[in-house]
Amino acid sequence: MSFLKKYLVRYWPWITTSIVCLVIEAFCDLLQPTIMSRIIDVGVANHDLTYVLRLGGLMLLITATGAIGAVGRNLASSNASQRIGADLRLDLFKKIQKLSLGSLNKFDTASLITRLTNDVTQIQEVVHRMMRIFIRAPILAIGGIIMAIYLHPPMSLVLAVVVPIVASLIYLNMRIGYPYFGRVQKAIDRLNSVMREYLAGLRVVRAFNRLDYEADRMQDATVQLAKITKTAMRVMAVFSPGIRLTVNLGIAVVLWFSGYLIDLGSMEVGKTIAFINYMTQILHSLMMISRIIMMLVRAKASIDRVEEVFLQEDSMHIKADPVRDIPALGKVEFKNVCFVYHGAEQPILDRISFVCQPGQTLAIIGSTGAGKTTLVNLIPRFYDVSDGQVLVDGVDVRDYQLRDLRERIAIVPQKTLLFTGTILENIKWGNNQATEDEVIEAAKVAQAHDFISSFPGGYQTVLGQGGVNLSGGQKQRIAIARALIRKPEILILDDSTSAVDLTTESKIRQGLQQYTKDLTTIIIAQRITSVISADQIIVLDQGQIVGIGNHETLLETCPVYQDIFRSQIGTREAL
């Protein structure tokens, strides 16, 4: 909650204005019944037309003032809530962008997006409505009670009975109703999840002929949802009429008592009408208050989720005075590096040590989950080591200014991510100062130029939703071009040619060798053919290096490497 305070304080002029207008508005609302009662009691009863007209004019004046108050309040609260929402969104976005990957991994991507969109909007809505209802309702309720008592103290005893009953009914409604809300939500989640699974595995469902089975699952989920929703709606259906009934009974009682009081001369008809009006007003205010509370409860969930992100302390510490002006050569060294994921028991990487000289090609091969991607992620310092050191150009990566470090490195990750925009824009992500010639050159090396040119729009072809859809291999090649244009000293290819066929892959390899002789290339691959020509190959198995050397050496000495070779190529004799 505390993070919200900052924003509320920032916009206090708007908020205060809104509250002041609100008070005016509420005040005017409160006065109306009294004036009306005067019109009737004094004006009509005494046949005093001028009085009627005069008070009528007064009532209009008050209404107009109330309206101005309402308009002002709306203007102020819209400004306050929208600005607060915008600021909150921006700050949250900044926070997310600035967090290290290690901290970010604690959140699911979809949930981060929801927090930025739905949750912030919820909070914004609440702030807006709060100012409208939250202050107004209590004022009207309390004011109404006061005015009623002022009108006729003895009669207000009726209030003393009606109000507590209504309040407890409202309270019961929330207590009983709210858990149902949660249950309905769960049933909805279940339905969505069944649906999602069905859609994701449609082909398998059809291939294995499990249509009936899936239909049953679906039926189950829908029936459950219908049942619980029906029950929830029915539970809710009790309270609203119940509350209205209580108030209506109160009105009947008021009418009855009024009879006696008027007879005794201590009450007038007009006052009765006013009294009834106030009672209705109090009821509405009470109901408004309950609605706010429900709103707040739902908003609380959003507030908590947003706060969770803000409270994330960055696990990565940036040095205050980083080392600068380190010559960029492209040397990478790992010294006894260990890495354990937060909360995991087993280390992903265990005592990894190697040196990669500038200009060398280093290949990393090993089974899935062996730690290959984690290893290369340590180089641009996406994560910090748990033990040991990672050195780039002789300096520990933790001593670098992040920007400086990452300038030297270009990475093509396993999952290709391109953004909406033209192909040109996507490649220029690597270096937005690049000229078009440089872009084309990079695309040529990446074996992308040909297929890009084959599109009618060429490099101006728009990618993404509503644009052209590329095959996996084409996307990978654009990602490689994006990395190359950066002219890095260190190029990391994380299984980046998995969707590319062998011919194209070898052409890319050749192109890379010619592009820059001094480029340190680190390749992660599954296919042994991708690593065969590397200067140095690291074989990873369960987080440890079980073999290091070139292809011939490993074929002689490393059992794991031999296994891999055999499974993919076959025994040497068969060749």
């Binding site: 009532m59 990957l101 059809r206 294995f208 219908a226 609605r291 859809n469 062998l502 499974s567 076959g570």
Partner: protein, 620 residues
Amino acid sequence: MGVNAQPQSAKSTSTQPIINLGGLGGRRRGPRGMPVEKARDLRGTVRRLWTYFRGQRRLLLLLFGLILFSTLIGLFVPYLVGKAIDALGEQTGVNFDLLQIIVTTLLVAYILDGVLVFLQGWFVAGLSQQTVLELRNATFAKLQKLPTAYFDRHTHGEIMSRLANDIDNVSTTIAQSTTQLIDSVFMISGSFVMMLILSPLLTLASMITIPMVFGLTRTIAKRTKLFFKEQQQNLGILNGHIEEMITGIEIVKAFNYEEQVIDDFAKINQQLCQVGIKAQTWSGFIMPLMNVINNIGFTAVAAVGGVLAVHNLITVGIIASFLSYSRQFVRPLNEVANLFNTLQSAIASAERVFEIMDQPEEAADLENAIDLDEPEGRVEFVNVTFGYEPGVDVCKNMSFTIEPGTRVAIVGPTGAGKTTIINLLTRFYDVDQGQILIDGKDIREYHRASLRKVFGIVLQDTYLFSGTIEDNLRYGRIDASKEEIREAARLANADHFICRLPLGYQTPLTESGSNLSQGQRQLLAIARAILANPKILILDEATSNVDTRTELQIQEAMVELMEGKTSFVIAHRLSTIRDADVIMVVDQGQIVEVGNHQQLLAQQGVYYRLYDNQFKNLAI
């Protein structure tokens, strides 16, 4: 899923939570003036919807009666209250007898009203949920019959939204809004009638506000519609930006793009803020101005009423009643517009749902379709031509014959049409021209269900659902015994790790099996296929994500399994290819070479070049 010709970019499949019980029985309220989605064919859709509600005609009638009754009471009450006020204000002193009668009647009326409203809510709940259920089941049944192409063309999020959100919008909203609408209409007309009965002059006085109301709504609605549309657009852009930059945050960091991305965000954010302020401010004008107009009306009534009372043409009680009725007249009037909008959006939802219902179904089994019993596993393609999009052929005049028990490896550059062969074999898609024969008969002559039983498929995306491991494996053959399941798992080298799990075969899997590693999931998928013991196996790069050592073992088991079966393997791995009986080289939709490994090498064609690349660097 790897079998599209046009792979779609990954889209998030999240849907927003639906059902909003609306707090204390209140309705869902959007900000006033928010533009609503309009239905395209109002009358037609309403008529279609009616067929779903028609089954509960009696309930509807009952509901109608309840509403009518409670409205009548609602109309009666102000009259009574007015009479009570008169009884109180009689010049000769309070008329206690009359008062007693009135108050008692009022009590009865109130209690009756309460019960009626409760019953309304009770029955509406049953009515709406029953309709939801029927609608959902009908839609899902339809989905099951739709061709695979439909699912490839629409994102999951979209389909789910229709099944979950749209259907919910339809039935709940329609049930509730319709009752409110009927209620409002009765109230408005009833109150108007009562007002006329009580005093035509006063009625005239209170009508001066009507033109004001129209004028107000017209001028404001125009502005707010514009602003809200702009707001929605900006929101869409912002959300798109957010989704991209967070999903791709690794790239953003790797390319040092954080500052730029934040700047872009700030710009869009600011735009959104500005237009949001405008939209909300303008829409906030409506209520207070309505209030002023209403009160002008009331003042007019009070003034004219006062005049009439002075001349003893009217009693105070009648004025009080009148005011009550006019309030009961005005309030629903304000809300009818809103209700109409909500209904419009519900009908638009209904249209989206019916769109699914109207989709052409997968070609049904022929009338005289036969079952494929005792399959041998001979596969023939005869001049098959096919394309996902009209005019873009992925397969052109493809022909081949595969004898039973042959191991076929399909190789070729990406996008060449390899996975399409699989799509066609299993009738996920039908050929445009030509025929596919299994055991000598066109596959369209078989029952689809029986045809698919012949195949065992292991795709690149494993599909495991939330259930126990045993349930998942049983997907292959529902009547398999526990021993058979274990044996299949053992052959796939899955038994080993399954037994290591705390609950063994009863271990529940999370949605899409994400509590296992990728390799383990592959093994389960293979075990499932083994259990199905099909005559024709289809493997799509199945073993590429598995631990190398395990992979060797699987390959051995698969060789065992493939014995006597026809198998199609799409693979890049040389070892898989090399051991095949027949290799089909596919390039640009055509089979360019067919033969075994030695024969193709000798041809020195496409295969030779592919193969050569692998060994260029092998220093042997």
